[in-house]
């Protein structure tokens, strides 16, 4: 058929046939030259077979879609010279050699009645992802491809929350277009990060019924062990107290798995592995909490290396998206400066966040006597849908117990 070579092309003049009846053609062969108001174009073919009949004459002006030639199956005899009765069509007209994509395969019918399951493959045009207008706009602002996200909205559509969550989990560095390098540092746009934090934290406070527990842990043994450990090592091999907090938490989580995982679709899903999101404050504001994977399986030295690597890359903007998606639980530790205690906000869909204040020297009663001890306030903020306070108390106690046996960490 006369192909449409442009939106404004209505007809074309067949200038020259480059094949004749009986010619064998294959996909990509040029079979004719057509003249249009934009000039002459070679017409190539998208089929294989034998030219059965040339329907259009050279010099003829034909509208788009008009029959140019019939193509038979490979090897098929060309039609006889005298025209066949017009009612007898051996083969349907070939599809136009246009650049239309093949029709999408028919979608498998969704099982009906399973209302709770969001339809993953949207039923829209040609499998196009369903993205809400605001989600699309926000994704554009954040430089995220919304079509790549898993939609949780109506009919599996990608909603604003999906975009905000993805933004908060992934590095929005691949943002296309010009960027204001003034504002951006190390791959993060502070405004975008603020928005992402705002979205995630708002969602958390809106949807997660938090409960909070805290306890004070005597760090004498842990720090003493650490001091001894570090004394024998050059600075680059030394550990930070954070390593002990991470290890103690990871080991406690093994015994209390209800704090390690996600609340999704109305129920708790335990995490596969203990991947601790470590909250890292970025210079100049903002916060990300990428995962250190399998903390329970790392040695203190290995963990320290992982931590150093993670913090370094976080500051430099080199966190992988998967590292943002991985955490099964989060720890926020204030280190040696800042406040004495912290009560965290759970990062949805996780179910718990541990908070460690700075280590402070305080009076402490040991064997009936008041002595100065380095203490840390440890807190647990947990999702009451997934666990109860009693279990939370046991979990905090387990962390304390592990910190009293630093050599086992």
């Amino acid at each position: 058929m006369m192909p449409s070579l442009g939106a404004d092309m209505e007809s074309g003049k067949l200038v020259k046939w480059l094949v004749e009846p009986g010619s064998t053609v294959k996909k990509g062969d040029v079979i004719a030259v057509v003249e249009t108001h934009k000039g002459a174009f070679e017409i190539d073919i998208f089929q294989e077979g034998t030219i059965a009949e040339l329907c259009a004459k050279e010099g003829e002006e034909l509208p788009v879609g008009a029959l140019l030639a019939r193509i038979g199956a490979p090897g098929e005899k060309p039609a006889k010279a005298e025209p066949a009765p017009p009612t007898v069509e051996e083969k349907p007209a070939p599809p136009p050699p246009a650049v239309e994509p093949p029709a999408p395969p028919a979608e498998k019918p969704e099982p009906t009645g399973s209302k709770a399951v969001p339809a993953k493959a949207p039923a829209g045009r040609a499998g196009r992802a369903k993205i809400s207008p605001v989600a699309r706009r926000r994704a554009g602002e954040l430089g995220i491809d919304p079509a790549a996200l898993e939609g949780t909205g109506i009919d599996g559509s990608v909603t604003l929350v999906d975009v905000e969550l993805a933004a908060s989990r992934s590095r929005p560095a691949e943002r296309p277009g010009p960027t204001s390098s003034e504002k951006r540092r190390a791959g993060f746009d502070p405004d975008q990060m603020r928005q992402a934090i705002a979205a995630a934290m708002s969602k958390s406070k809106r949807e997660i019924p938090h409960y909070y527990l805290s306890t004070t842990i005597d760090m004498t043994r842990a720090l003493g062990w650490l001091e001894a450990y570090n004394r024998e090592r050059p600075p680059e091999k030394r550990l930070l107290p954070a390593v002990l907090l991470l290890r103690a938490t990871a080991l406690a989580l093994k015994a209390h798995p209800q704090f390690n995982g996600f609340w999704e679709d109305g129920s708790f899903h335990p995490g596969e592995g203990i991947h601790v999101g470590w909250a890292i404050a970025l210079r100049g504001g903002g916060l990300i909490a990428p995962a250190i994977r399998d903390v329970d399986m790392l040695s203190p030295g290995g963990l320290m290396e992982a931590l150093r690597d993670l913090v370094g890359r976080a500051r430099a903007g080199g966190i992988k998206g998967s590292e943002m998606m991985d955490p099964t639980v989060t720890i926020t530790s204030l280190g040696d400066r800042g406040a004495e205690s912290v009560l965290g906000v759970i990062y949805p869909p996780q179910v718990a966040i541990l908070g460690f204040g700075k280590v402070v020297e305080r009076p402490w009663v040991v064997d009936g006597k008041i002595v100065a001890r380095p203490l840390v306030a440890a807190s647990l903020a947990a999702d009451h849908r997934a666990s109860d306070g009693h279990a939370g108390g046991l979990f905090l106690s387990a962390i304390d117990r592990h910190l009293q046996e630093p050599e086992t960490l």
Partner: protein, 80 residues
Amino acid sequence: MTDAEIRQLAAELLSDIAPETDPSSLPGDRDIREELDIDSMDFLNFIVALAKRTGLAIPEEDYPRLFTMDGIAAYVGEKS
């Protein structure tokens, strides 16, 4: 190393860690951790770098002497 060289080195190492700051303009008696907003990991990285550049061991118990520029200058000057 002279006092000035030590201070210059420290400022250079610190600005690697806190690139948006200007440690060289820091008053010598201020806590660099507060002034440059560096945390324990940053500080440890600073110690690692300082040890490497000066060849000093810098045991952990000496860390508190390295919280100010004046302290760093005195410490490195004394040990090297």
